[in-house]
């Protein structure tokens, strides 16, 4: 499966009535993960997060595509 660029957040058992809600739920959880951390701690948390998610995705073609997009337009 190619890299998904369409909105894709969801949670089992949760019914959403507004299209922005699942993404906002994720974003809040992401920012919350960094609460009360120093900048260095946050960098480390982010790195770990990427590694965890990368392993979960597994497919190197997808990961390469994401890495390419993340670096583009800097």
């Amino acid at each position: 499966m190619p890299l998904t660029l369409q909105p894709n957040f969801h949670e089992a058992g949760t019914r959403y009535f507004r299209p922005f809600s699942p993404g906002d739920d994720f974003y809040e959880a992401l920012i919350e993960t960094h609460r009360d951390l120093s900048d260095e701690q946050s960098d480390l948390v982010n790195a770990k997060l990427i590694l965890l998610l990368a392993n979960h995705i597994g497919d190197l073609a997808v990961l390469r595509e994401a890495m390419r997009l993340a670096r583009a337009r800097l």
């Binding site: 019914r15 507004r18 993404g23 906002d24 997009l69």
Partner: protein, 556 residues
């Protein structure tokens, strides 16, 4: 004061209590004639309920406050006889655009679907809304509005509430069976009853400028993150009535409010944004900080809190007055049933439960917007800017851009008043849902569904052909309208046809009702007076309907 608006001055008259020299007992007293207290007063008074409305002032909202009134609020204002003047005077819009630095990264349409009467949003200065409400209020004989009547003390005493009210002629006492506290964010009623309101202040300041200018920008909401004319901060632009434009500049926590308000500091900011050649005049300038907080419960025995007195949100999302007016929509029919002895006082606890649930959703959404707009740490700023950079090319990132999630009604999914579904339905019109609108037809004229439901309980029963309804069923439907808590049964049909005497038919002329409500022959919806779904079935069943009605009114 303002070049585009003259503040009305409402006449003070001594209260009947003062003239008669004795205390009177009133079924309902409302404190505060802001947009929310006025909506409550109109709602009750138009149902025939005598109401006294007290306000410490003698004019409408002063300065820059509410701008955006959402579709759901407009539907409520329609029910109160106020939708038309607000929409006519205001600026209707559906599209919001979000810019990051130099370019547009995201836009949204508040009304992705056609076939609704009202637009996603109308922009109108709060003083116009209040003026229209007062005009409407004065047409209602059951409503006694008393300007320059300031409540200075309040006490609950068994089955009544006792108020002391200060006027230019001195202080008088007033008794109420029920008190609705609509006295705003700094509620004196709340303080005098020693009740807490919990939440947080956002550490940021915003310069709010109302500017008069001629500009032919489209009627849209424009929001900038880090624009070239106001680096590292956000800016919001809204078009209001009379060519007044609202501009919000984020200033940061360290800004000095007094300095920032000075015209010599404001004007260059606006010129940087609009370009040097655009002519404009400053109408009103202020600096705000925002809070998010709510009371633990909105009912305290005989005192019911609504609007800013009960909860306060940051304005990104326009959820303040909008949610306050939705409070009154929820409260008034319940209060009327309780006063009329048709429902126990516990029905008012459902007011608190449902509106606390809605307030939490509003607080959550406006807090999330504020956190996105004003990131608190380096990491949140990096994530925010990463989202904005990805948003240009990637739909998933666009969905994460949060420049304000604009006021939409809450689905009251967990309410004890709902009767859970016993059959499968598609779509969103679940028990507790705020009703979707639909274009309909009745007796030779087209109309919008939401214009003809509400104020009382109704049941919409889907029939294939109204002419073929048998007499016995018709009689059963009519009997429901004569019950102590009347339920008006209306037939919904795909085609017109003569209905049995005493029954109305709504023709689903575009098929939108069938689609949005997943309705087929037999499908029956029980609707609350505030245009929310109470229950629904695949077939009409009188006993089930009675049980659902009892449940929706706490009579079981």
């Amino acid at each position: 004061m303002l070049s585009t608006y003259r503040y009305p001055k409402f006449e003070y008259r001594p209260a009947p209590e003062q003239l008669a020299g004795r205390t009177q007992r009133h079924p309902v007293v409302i404190v505060g004639a802001g947009p929310v207290g006025l909506a409550a007063a109109i709602d009750l008074a138009q149902s025939g309920q005598p109401v006294v409305l007290l306000d410490d002032d003698d004019t409408v909202s002063v300065g820059s406050r509410g701008v955006c009134y959402a579709k759901r609020t407009l539907e409520i204002l329609d029910r109160l006889g106020l939708g038309e003047p607000c929409v006519t005077k205001g600026v209707s819009w559906n599209v919001g655009r979000t810019f990051f630095r130099e370019e547009e990264v995201y836009n949204f349409n508040l009304r992705p679907q056609e076939g609704h009467k009202r637009p996603g949003m109308v922009n109108l200065q709060q003083y116009y809304l209040e003026e229209f409400e007062i005009t409407r209020a004065r047409q209602l004989p059951a409503l006694d509005i008393r300007f320059r009547n300031k409540v200075v003390s309040v006490a609950q005493d068994g089955d009544k509430v006792i108020l002391q009210v200060e006027t230019p002629d001195g202080i008088y006492a007033l008794e109420a069976d029920w008190l609705v506290a609509a006295d705003g964010a700094r509620s004196g009623i709340r303080r005098m009853l020693h009740l807490d309101v919990e939440g947080k202040i956002f550490k940021d300041r915003f310069l709010i400028a109302d500017v008069v200018m001629k500009a032919d920008y489209p009627p849209e909401r424009w929001f900038w993150f880090d624009p070239p004319f106001h680096r590292n901060q956000s800016v919001l632009l809204h078009h209001q009535a009379d060519n007044v434009w609202r501009i919000d500049f984020q200033l940061g926590w360290d800004a000095d409010p007094e300095e920032e308000k000075k015209p010599e500091n404001v004007i260059p900011r606006i010129k940087a944004m609009l370009g040097d050649e655009r002519e404009f005049e400053l109408e009103w300038v202020s600096v705000y900080t925002f809070q998010c907080r709510r009371m633990h419960s909105f009912r305290h025995d005989r005192v019911l809190f609504v609007g800013d007195a009960a909860h306060q949100v940051s304005p990104f999302g326009a959820r303040g007055a909008n949610s306050g007016i939705q409070d009154t929509d929820n409260l008034c029919w319940k209060l009327k049933l309780v006063i009329d002895g048709q429902a126990p006082a516990t029905l008012l606890d459902s007011y608190s439960d449902e509106r606390v649930f809605a307030a939490d959703e509003n607080l959550m959404n406006s807090t999330r917007s504020t956190d996105f707009i004003t990131p608190k740490t380096k990491t949140s700023l990096t994530f925010r800017n990463a989202v904005l950079e990805l948003a240009r090319d990637n739909p998933f990132a666009r969905a994460l851009v949060n420049s304000g999630r604009l006021s939409v009604p809450t689905f009251l999914t967990g309410s004890v008043l709902n009767t859970p579904d016993s059959a499968d339905f598609a779509g969103d019109m679940i028990p507790g849902a705020p009703m979707d609108d639909a274009p309909m037809h009745e007796d030779g004229s087209d109309f919008w569904l939401l214009d003809r439901v509400g104020n009382g309980f109704m049941a919409l029963v889907h029939v294939a052909d109204p002419a073929r309804l048998d007499g016995e069923t018709a009689a059963r439907f009519r009997a429901l309208a004569a019950a102590p808590i009347p339920v008006e049964v209306v037939l919904v049909a795909p085609v017109a046809g003569p209905a049995p005497a005493g029954l109305r038919v709504f023709v689903d002329r575009a098929g939108r009702y069938a689609e949005r409500y997943d309705s087929q022959t037999g499908t029956t919806y029980l609707l609350r007076p505030d245009q929310h779904v109470a229950a629904r079935w695949r077939n009409f069943d009188a006993a089930a309907l009675q049980a659902a009605l009892a449940r929706a009114t706490c009579n079981c």
